[in-house]
Each structure stands twice: as structure tokens, then as C-alpha cells.
Amino acid sequence: MLKSDTFSQALEPSPILAERLAGLTSVSACYQCKKCSSGCPLTFAMDFYPDQVIRLALLGQEAQVLGCRTIWVCSSCETCTTRCPNNIDIAGVMDWLKEEAIRQGYASPQPQVTLFHQSFLDAVRRGGGRLSEPLLLGLYQWRSGGTLAKLKSGALMEDLSMAWKLNRRGRLVFHWPRRLKGAKEIKDFFKKPRLRKT
């Protein structure tokens, strides 16, 4: 369901967000052709269409874009960025907004997706530079909670049955990732101050 009512109210434009995004891409070049939204395979799961996110960003509607579901269900397939006639890096804007939303402490409207990304990076960090998929799945499952609900709905048995099938095929076997020579250097990447934030 799109939040179309957003557009029926008067919006107070604020240039700040677009100015900050200008270091990444020029959202002000958007002339609302909607090519991004037409080609986006994920619109059925979004609250705003990609062109609406760009429009809202341009109008400085920070709370709307930082709190929306769209930025988290975007699969980063890069179709929008590829097709934009004005070379706006739309998928890059989605990434920028996700990072900014976390930085500003917005509650993710898609907590499972956010938690999956966080668990992934945590697994790489703890594993010393390479990803162990069983560690990722374990961390994610542990933190996402809802185990009881998953048990009741049968989803947990489905997950475990899939894990077992993969394990039998040698595709999901726990082993700690090997120790890399660059482990310390890689660990430091996780601590460095961010490049982009202005």
C-alpha cells in the first residue's frame, strides 16, 4: 500500500538532504519520468516507489525517506541506476539513506532485513575476514528471536530441514574460517571513521 496521502498534503521543502546527497549523485536532476519505478521488481513490497523516494529526498522530507520500508526491501539489483536517463544513482541513494537512518537511530521498519545485514558484517568481523555462512545464520536466528512463533508456524522446522539437506550435501558445514594474515588490517576496516558522511 503506497502512502499516497503524503503527496496530497502540502510539503515544506528543505534543501539540506539533497545538498548532502549531492556528494553522491544529483537527485535534483530527476524529472520524474518514473523509469526507475517501472523497472523495479520490488515495488510490490515497497511503501514508496523509487521515484517517490527521490522526490521526497529532493523536497527534504527526511523523516519520510529515512523511516520508509522501500530503502530496506530494495534488493540493490541496480536496474533503476542502470536505466535512469539522468544518471542518478538511485540504488546508491537507497544505500545512503539506510546508513543515515541507522546513524540517526531510526527504528527499521524492516527489522529482519536490517538484522540480517548486521549479522552478516558481525560474522565477517568475528570470523576474521571471511564469512562463515553457518555462523551468519546462527547469529541471525539467535538475535531475530521469535523462535517460538517460528516453531508454531512450522517455519522453524522448514529452516532446519533445509539446513539438514544442505549439510548432507556438504554445503552447510560449520568450520571456523581460516586465520588470515591480514586479519588485523581487516579488523581495523570495521573501526575506521566513515568516508562519506558530510
Binding site: T81, D95, Q110, L115, L131, L166, L172, R196
Partner: protein, 284 residues
Amino acid sequence: MKVSYYPGCSLEGTAIDYAASIGGISRLLDLELEELEDWNCCGATAAHSLDHHLALALPARNLALAEAAGQDVVVPCALCFNRLKVAEKALQGPEGAHLGVPYQGRIKVWDLLDYLTQNARLKELAPKVVQPLTGLKAVGYYGCLVARPPAITDKTDAENPQNLEQLLKVLGADPLDWSFKTDCCGAGLAVARPDIIDTLVQRLYERALQAGADCFVVSCQMCQANLDMPQQRIAKKFGKDYYLPVFYFTELIGLALGHPEVKKWLAGHLVDPLPLLEKIGFRF
């Protein structure tokens, strides 16, 4: 011929069958894949979603390792390939100086499919086919991120790539045209939002069947997992009876070239391709 090889994390895990097929066919193709020493995770979607610096620093380190190794590097994973290319562009741009990574851009980053389907390599491949895959009706399904965005991947055919189809013809299979070859399957959301996958992937099944296909051929292990693993679940959810094996292109090269271990690679799949191969009269 020697080339550096960056496998990526999943080829040590859930895509170990893909890794085995790559190792297997490389010997048949006189290709020496030299795995980069001490490579690390590219950061994948998680890093570029949450941490811009990390999303460049992780793949940049791999690029520096590859350049130090002194030869081009091939990457079998679409996402790793994309992240390495993003880092390559960043290192050559204004952000490069901040990354503190020595990289001159003297090597080329290849995605494995592109590398193996260069004209000269396809010509070398043709006479090595011992059992053509006659009657195998397949749709090629390209990973989003090997092609998009072209400003990063340096590809000229992002909307309608042809090299998988060219390869299938050389192998004697019957590649079918369809409009969804570069549409996203949503693999990055497979764990957190399986319901989204059901919608996206069911559409791909339906479109592949409408095109007349009996199977998918992929060059991305995330696509393979995402089309293969939930097939039973999706069939149940939509009340359909899907049987669409999902081959890696490397497995089909192995089949056509008579590699003795192909059955072992295929045993890693959830949707067993053997009944289909039997149906088209393929003899192991």
C-alpha cells in the same frame, strides 16, 4: 593459461558444488586458476547497505592482492565481481586517496562467464564437446550484478546479454529467448523476507515455462540457490508442480565435455537434474 582466481566466501560453503565444477572444467580447458592468497570477504550487500567505508575497503584489499599477484583475476560470484569493480572505480576516483590502498589498475577484473565465453575461448571449446546437450531446452539467467550498472561493470550489453546463449549453442543445447534473463530474483532477501522471494521466483518459474524451458542455466551462485532451494516451498504455496533444475553453466560445460565427476557436482542440488538429463537421453 594462468589467471588469478577470487572464489568468494560462498564457494567455500553453500556453493561448494559450483567451486568443484569450476575446478573440474578448468583442467579440461587448460586453464590454471591460481587462488589469490589471503583473500577476504567482499562485504556483499550488507556492507554497502550499512557501511560505505567498509564496502570499499574490503574489496579494495582484494584488488591490491590481485594486482600484486600480477595477472588478471576471475570472479565466479556476481556480487563479489560487482564489489571488486565498485572498489576499482573508487580507487581510481577522488575517494581512492582516502582508502590508502596501493592500486594502479594494471589488471582486469573478469566475471567468470565473460572470461570463458570470449570468442577465442568459445572456438577452443567447440572441438572439445564429446556429448552435445541435444534437446536441453534452457533459459539463461544472468546474475543482476555481473552486468549492472554498466558504468561500474564496463559491460556493453547490460539489458540483453547473449554470452550464456552463445555458450549453450556451442554445447549443443537449445537456449530459449525470454524477457526475464536479467530480472532480479531477490536473493539478498532470501533469509529475512522469504515471502518476497516466493513472489519473485514464482514469476521466473512461470515465465521460463511459458518460454518452453525445462531448466535454468545460471552463472551466479546466489541465483542458483534462490531458484533451486525454495522450489518445493514455492510449488506448495502456489499449488503448482514445478520441476525446473537450475544448472551452473560450468556444470553444463562439464557434461558436454565428458567430465567424470559431473554427477557428484549435480548431487549438491536440491532439485535433482538427473531425471531431466535422462529424459533428453543424456548418457553418463
